[in-house]
């Protein structure tokens, strides 16, 4: 057997070494990213995956930029400034001069207006982007540098406009019928035309790799790297191994255990950044048929009672959830706006902050009429049997299943019986829409503007994204108020009040704010800045700052003054704390673990042979 393996190796090794040797020649500086999913579409009107958003950011520009500190809008995009009319119905943006597409054509206000108008005209474009242009009636470009948005009513979410600006002179040939399958990929070796800092030279939707080349003439200045390559790794273990070997320079979404394992690796720096979002236990607070108003499904009566749900908030040990279900990578949660967005966030008052306090939970339940019988079993206010709560977990997420296991225990401590069903999320979606559940575990990503997150819990979203079937008129009124507010302070007040209502009504019990693990070869690369700064992530951010800022580690210096970037050296001291700056050592791992494992396998392989000989020997003796 071993001989056979050796033979195969022997036969292939000469082949193997040839291409490796052939590519030794002068190479461009290439930054290689390992990611989970294929790009679903390079067409910015079609793609949905986070990976695609990252690629468009390299290929195109946006009207608005987002700050590294807290993702607030800033004039670092195509618009060098903007203003709003008194009544909030007219937004005027001034497009900067000197921006060109990669084919040399200038980018003007007309391209911006064209992009937005395609979305307003409906179809596939509208499916993806129309929520950012709510109440926008008309987009015009009165001159080359002015874009005017006319609204039917004020829209406080503007200028959140993360829509890639496409070249009109290319896309006018792609009509409404064609756009829904238009791939926007390089054809006959010609890169895709865009105004962004990189050009897509290789890549297809659903393909394993994508390659981008830097543009020398980008308006913010040429990137410090020549190429960015994305490689899809369907297995996180393989991606991490590729990072250790040096085949890739960055791995996204590294699980906490792998982050720990990578910590001692020479030349690799890891990061646990805030990912702006939350996970929650959601309740069926009253599923209804939205047309007739009749109740549907079979949700438990007790969960229609806000006092009951709020009491359960004290029965959840959020720290234990973070420690076990999240392996420590995250923070306990309370409000639906995560701490990342502290300007929008409402903090619960100290006396009502959810702590793990089963006694208080018990007391609140009893006060609300849910008493226990002599056997410790919880009863309904009318003294009848409580029955069983049906909890649902998403089977593809270990975190989800673990959280529900813990929740079941805590419910049992309160004398409440429950059962858990784990199912795939697309099946769970059906169960939720039918109202045939009592509670489930899921989560949401929260954008830099909380408007969309807040909208999911309005009555308008019943039978759609409002998965808790929550409907509260006061909440809806505040939603409209903040959505159309002209004054920022007023808007923030309304947003905070909405979070407060949700906290006490408790359709969701927020369990945790997750964190995203990342790992990068700091022996080769430096000057990546986290977003939000500090505490955020290095890549898959809002905007392309890091692709412009990053450079080979030996050229790091002070990263042009961004001294808290990874690998930045300020006045001869290492400001990043990574200790990796300047090390140019790209050897692969040589820990003792791997050889041991390899030896183990050889032993296993030989085991069959050894056993055979022994059995043969004993058979011979018997004869």
């Amino acid at each position: 057997m071993l001989a056979a393996v050796a033979l195969v190796f022997g036969a292939l090794t000469p082949l193997a070494l040839q291409p490796a040797a052939g590519s030794e020649a002068e190479e461009p500086t290439t930054f290689t990213v390992a990611m989970d999913n294929e790009v679903d579409s390079f067409n910015p009107f079609l793609g949905i995956e986070a990976e695609s958003y990252e690629m468009w950011a390299l290929m195109y520009d946006y009207l608005i930029g987002y700050s590294m500190a807290d993702m607030s809008p800033e004039p670092t995009g195509l618009a060098e400034d903007w203003e709003t009319s008194e009544d909030g119905l007219t937004w005027t943006f001034t497009v900067r001069d000197g921006v060109t597409f990669s084919d040399g054509e200038p980018l003007t206000a007309a391209d911006v207006a064209y992009t937005y108008n395609r979305i307003l005209d409906g179809g596939a474009e509208a499916a993806t982007w129309s929520s950012y242009l709510t109440s926008v009636e008309k987009v015009t470009a009165p001159d080359e540098r002015t874009v005017v948005l006319e609204l039917s009513q004020p829209n406080a979410v503007l200028p959140l406009l993360p829509i890639p600006i496409i070249p009109e002179h290319v896309w006018r040939d792609v009509d409404e019928k064609a756009v829904k399958t238009f791939a926007n990929e390089p054809t006959d070796g010609d890169p895709v035309i865009g105004s962004g800092p990189f050009e897509l030279v290789e890549g297809t939707a659903g393909g394993p790799t994508a390659r981008f080349q830097a543009r020398e003439d980008y308006w913010k200045g040429s990137p410090h790297i020549d190429e960015v390559v994305y490689r899809v790794f369907k297995s996180k273990d393989s991606a991490v191994q590729a990072l250790i070997k040096g085949e890739v320079d960055y791995v996204a979404d590294v699980p906490p255990l792998q982050v720990d394992a990578l910590q001692g690796q020479e030349g690799i720096t890891t990061n646990q950044g805030d990912s702006p979002g939350f996970d929650e236990i959601a309740f069926n607070v009253g599923a209804v048929n939205t047309k007739t108003g009749e109740p549907i499904g079979d949700g438990h009566e007790a969960l229609k009672d806000p006092d009951f749900r709020f009491a359960l908030g004290f029965a959840i040990d959020r720290q234990r959830i973070v420690d076990t279900a999240y392996q420590g990578s995250g923070t306990p949660g309370d409000s639906i706006v995560p701490p990342t967005y502290d300007n929008w966030r409402w903090e619960p008052p100290a006396e009502d902050a959810f702590t793990f306090d089963p006694e208080r939970a018990d007391q609140l339940l009893t006060e609300a009429g849910y008493e226990t019988n002599s056997g410790g079993e919880r009863l309904m206010p009318d003294g009848s049997d409580f029955g069983t709560l049906r909890l649902f977990a998403r089977s593809e997420s270990d975190t989800s299943v673990t959280v529900m296991d813990l929740f079941k225990e805590w419910l049992a401590d309160l004398g409440i019986d429950s059962e858990i069903t784990a199912m795939e999320s697309n099946r769970l979606t059906n169960v939720i829409l039918d109202g045939e559940f009592d509670a489930f575990e899921w989560g949401w990503y929260v954008e830099p503007d909380p408007d969309s997150m807040l909208s999911y819990l309005t009555c308008d979203q019943l039978a759609s994204w409002n998965d808790a079937w929550y409907c509260n008129e006061e909440y809806d009124r505040l939603y409209r108020e903040q959505n159309q507010a002209l004054d920022d302070a007023e808007r923030v007040a309304a947003v905070k009040r909405m979070q407060e209502i949700l906290y006490y009504d408790a359709p969701y019990l927020v369990t945790a704010y997750g964190a995203t693990g990342e790992a990068i070869r700091t022996d080769r690369w430096a000057c990546l800045q986290s977003q939000p700064d500090p505490g955020g992530i290095w890549l898959f951010q809002y905007g392309v700052t890091n692709y412009l800022q990053m450079r080979p580690a030996d050229q790091a210096g002070d990263c042009d003054g961004v001294t808290n970037a990874v690998g930045a050296v300020a006045d001869g001291t290492d400001a990043s704390g990574s200790g990796a700056a300047g090390e140019v050592e790209s050897s692969s791992s040589s820990s003792w673990v791997l050889p041991t494992v390899a030896a183990l396998v050889l032993v296993l392989l030989a085991a069959g042979g050894l056993m055979a000989f022994r059995r043969r020997a004993s058979a011979g003796e018997r004869e």
Binding site: M1, V8, F9, L12, T13, L15, A16, P19, A20, G22, E38, L46, I48, G122, A124, A126, A127, T128, S131, K180, T181, E202, A205, G206, P208, T209, R211, V229, R231, K234, S235, D237, S238, Q241, A242, K245, E396, E424, S425, N426, T429, N430, W444, Y445, S452, S464, W465, S588, S590, L594, P595, V597, A598, V601, L605, G608, G609, M611, R615, R616
Partner: protein, 346 residues
């Protein structure tokens, strides 16, 4: 899609023209059967995936399609709002003209996606199966011929050990050792993927590069498949060993190796042929585990990922291609058997 090969005793009699005629009828019957299965699969395919739970617009659009209007826009654009019977008619018309629909996730024609993914899968699974067949049959032959001797025990136990190892574990182990490099072992192979990014397709370097990338996954898969062929070959050769004609052959004074090669092995190859032909059909279904571990963009991964959306047209397309391949392989096996073993032609 049953692979049973019925045999009936005493069918090998009759004159030559009659035999030819009966073979023609046999072929005709098998062809009709295959076409029938294909038509059946076509219909079942459509309805099977429609009863899958989930709404593609919601699975894909969570956090992106904010409003009911956006979800509706998406559904309308990609034909999900049409009534089911209408969708079915469109599906039949399209499939017959070779149009497999548009992927809901990738928004490109499913036929293009499948063509892109077919090649890696064929290379990976086809090569592994070929290697496993050749090596496995040889090992099985050696084992049977030396039944009970050390060489038999070594090969049989080794292939069984490999067979019982999880594929992903074996794959990861190879990555951790010969791809990353460990101790004295240099990391000579890539950790995953099918090609380097900077090699031009169509050049000889590209071929070498692909071979270099496929080495580890092919080794893993070959090792996993090996026992299948080795054991079948071993047992069918063992069945032949006691036969009278071998005694006759030896009595004629033939050398041992000639007896094995010209008398025993040809007869023992029949069951192996069936296995090979049947497995051939499964080549295009891909090898999901290995495709995942080594990040090889194959059909197996495409279908698995489409299932969670559910991306109806991708599922229909991949299953149609996979079923067609299995049906075709079955047909070939049947026809081949008709030639190899005249008794089955009834």
């Amino acid at each position: 899609m049953s692979a049973t090969l019925t045999s009936s005793p005493g069918a090998a009699t009759g004159s030559a023209p009659a035999a030819r005629q009966s073979y023609a009828r046999y072929v005709g019957g098998r062809l009709l059967g295959a076409l029938g299965s294909l038509a059946f699969v076509l219909v079942v395919n459509f309805f099977l995936f429609r009863v899958l739970p989930g709404d593609p617009a919601r699975t894909l659009g969570r956090g992106r399609f904010r409003t009911e209007e956006q979800l509706e826009q998406f559904r309308a654009t990609y034909g999900l709002t049409e009534p089911l019977p209408q969708q079915f008619v469109t599906f039949l018309q399209n499939t017959l003209t070779g149009d497999l629909g548009i992927s809901l996730r990738y928004r490109v024609p499913v036929a293009d996606l499948i063509l892109d993914r077919l090649w890696p899968t064929l290379l990976l699974v086809g090569t592994s199966m070929l290697l496993a067949t050749v090596i496995g049959v040889y090992l099985g032959m050696i084992s049977a011929w030396n039944r009970g001797r050390p060489v038999d025990r070594v090969w049989t136990n080794s292939t069984l050990t490999l067979y019982s190892m999880p594929e992903w574990w074996l794959g990861l182990l190879l990555i951790a050792t010969v791809a990353v490099g460990a101790g004295p072992i240099p990391g000579i192979f890539p950790t995953g993927g099918l090609n380097s990014v900077d090699v031009d397709p169509g050049t000889f370097d590209y071929v070498l590069d692909t071979a270099w990338h496929l080495t580890l996954p092919v080794i893993t898969l070959t090792l996993a498949y090996l026992a299948d062929y080795a054991l079948i070959m071993r047992s069918s050769l063992l069945d032949e060993l006691g036969e009278d004609y071998l005694v006759t052959a030896r009595a004629k004074g033939l050398r041992d190796i000639a007896v094995r090669r010209h008398h025993a092995v040809p007869n023992a190859l029949l069951p192996t042929t069936t296995l090979v032909a049947l497995n051939l059909g499964f080549v295009v279904s891909g090898a999901i585990t290995i495709e995942t571990i080594f990040s090889i963009p194959g059909l197996g991964l495409l279908a698995t990922e489409a299932l969670s959306i559910p991306d109806y047209w991708v599922l229909q397309g991949t299953f149609l291609v996979a079923s067609a391949a299995v049906i075709l392989a079955n047909l070939l096996a049947n026809l081949l058997y008709g030639v190899l073993d005249p008794r089955v032609r009834t």
